[in-house]
């Protein structure tokens, strides 16, 4: 379309209107692109902290070592106590903009045989990181497990309160912890390897030595060491493999277990005293399992005995 302007006044009005239109369009485009640009580049940063602000957030298993195996494994045989007191090492990092009183407890009634009570952690101030052990958890030890292994999960919750009376709830998040119980006497349990050192040989273990008639679970021998021992088990290709072993502690100590050179297990609390303690862990089945047992340095020896590597049939 061609518009012919005969009058200079009309031409000026037209030019003015055209400029105004162009300016309006330019402003609209600027505003649109600005909004669009902020949406992409800046507003997400502002809104994300709001959008992700869940307050109490369960972060799962966050060890300072491998996090491949968060579950607990417990062999029910030869234990001293009929009630097993569990210890769960936990950490709360309060990056809220306020301090709160925290509590851990059951989120729903636990499975039969469990007793779980609230544990008040106390006040955790802004930016404080608090590590603690949740101890108010116990389970009546099963007498037997015909199927060899069974798993129970407990449903827990961590809550933040605004007041020291723990009455004004601010926020909470829940989580599960899994426990696998193994019965060595079950017919579903097949022993792949057993080391009791009663042949007076090291049975493939390294960095320790066999002792007789001194300290043992099965008479008369055990395997003595001061800091670290290891053995490779041929667990490749099995559907599952678990190692159950007895360890004598001369005194309180932490225990770290390495699988193929990677720290995979650490005790939630140090072993508290002298005596025999039993442990159970899953092993790798995609490759062989080189198991390393590491303890605090000690001037008196530790002793290993009655090591079982087992396969549990489904």
């Amino acid at each position: 379309m061609v518009v012919k302007m005969k009058s200079p006044v009309n031409r000026r009005v037209f030019i003015f209107a055209l400029c105004a239109l162009i300016s309006t369009l330019a402003i609209m485009m600027f505003v649109y692109t600005s909004i669009h640009w902020y949406n992409i580049n800046e507003w997400p940063d502002i809104t994300s902290s709001e959008g992700n602000h869940f307050s109490v957030v369960w972060k799962g298993f966050q060890p300072d070592y491998s996090n491949e195996t968060p579950d607990y494994y417990i062999c029910i045989n030869n234990l001293k106590d009929e009630v097993l007191n569990m210890h769960i090492a936990m950490k709360i990092e309060n990056f809220e903009d306020s301090g709160y009183w925290f509590m851990v407890g059951p989120y729903e009634p636990p499975p039969q045989g469990w007793n779980i009570e609230d544990c008040k952690i106390g006040f955790i101030r802004v930016d404080e990181i608090k590590e603690f052990v949740y101890e108010n958890i116990s389970k009546v030890r099963p007498d037997s497990i015909p199927q060899g292994i069974f798993t129970e999960s407990i449903h827990l919750v961590v809550k933040a309160f605004r007041d020291p009376d723990y009455s004004d709830l601010y926020s909470q998040d829940d989580f599960f912890v899994n426990f696998h119980f193994i019965d060595l006497t079950s017919t579903a349990v097949h022993i792949i390897d057993q080391d009791n050192f009663d042949s007076e040989t090291d049975e493939g273990w390294k960095y320790g030595y066999v002792v007789l008639y001194r300290v043992y679970r099965s008479w008369p021998a055990s395997y003595s060491f001061y800091h670290y021992i290891e053995k490779t088990f041929d667990t490749y290709g099995y559907d599952n493999a678990y190692m159950i072993f007895s360890l004598y502690f001369p005194g309180p100590s932490d225990l770290t277990i390495y699988i193929n050179g990677v720290a995979r297990f650490k005790t939630d609390i140090p072993i508290p005293k002298q005596g025999w303690f039993q442990f159970a862990i899953p092993l790798d089945t995609s490759i062989s399992s080189r198991v390393g047992i590491a303890l605090s340095e000690s001037s008196v020896p530790y002793y290993l005995d009655d090591v079982y590597v087992v396969l549990v049939y489904d």
Partner: protein, 198 residues
């Protein structure tokens, strides 16, 4: 012409003691100059408002994954011995023969001979039984005791022989358990002694 001066006696000596003259100056004159003005620093500071903590989350996590449980203790881990048993009357006089109605006092010492790898006895059960010659329990007394390694404790139990008790040889049994046997406790040691009721 100089007046004649008498010579000084030999013991009168004259000397000079200083060597610097000084004289007052005219007042100083300052040459004509300027007054200079300058700035010497370049940093202002101001108190801020209270710091702002952005809204954040409180993170909870687990950090370890290995439970360890104490195993049943084995008998060899305890080295408990009853090292002394004394039977006396109620006044502490050694005796072996008692009449009905008399009180017998049984004193004994338990020792934990444990070495480095043995266990202390924690809340161990110390039990004393008195049996008549038909093995009927005439008296049962017990207590729980902590006995650290390389330590000993003395116990005294008293028992009044009932007037209706039968004559004969009575047996004292002293036993130490880790706990009541029905609760899984294991017997650690036992000693016996005898006395006569007549």
């Amino acid at each position: 012409m100089t007046n004649e001066v008498a010579a000084l006696p030999d013991n009168a000596k004259v000397s000079r003691t200083r060597n610097l003259q000084f004289f007052e100056l005219v007042p100083p004159i300052h040459p004509p100059g300027n007054a200079y003005l300058s700035r010497t620093e370049n940093l202002q500071f101001f108190e801020m408002t209270s710091s702002f903590h952005p809204p954040g989350d409180a993170y909870a996590s687990r950090t370890r994954n290995l439970q360890g449980f104490e195993m049943t203790p084995l008998l060899y881990q305890y080295k408990i011995e009853i090292i002394e048993i004394d039977i006396t009357d109620e006044y502490g006089n050694p005796a072996n023969k008692f009449a009905k109605g008399e009180t017998i006092q049984i004193k004994f010492v338990i020792m934990n001979l444990g070495d480095a790898e043995s266990l202390p006895l924690n809340q161990g059960l110390v039990c004393l039984e008195v049996l008549d010659q038909l093995s009927t329990v005439m008296f049962l007394g017990y207590t729980f005791v902590d006995l650290p390694k390389q330590s000993s404790k003395e116990f005294v139990f008293g028992f009044t022989i009932p007037p209706t008790a039968m004559d004969g040889i009575y047996t004292i049994k002293i036993m130490v358990y880790t706990d009541w046997p029905m609760k899984g406790g294991i017997g650690l040691t036992i000693e016996e002694a005898e006395f006569i009721v007549a």
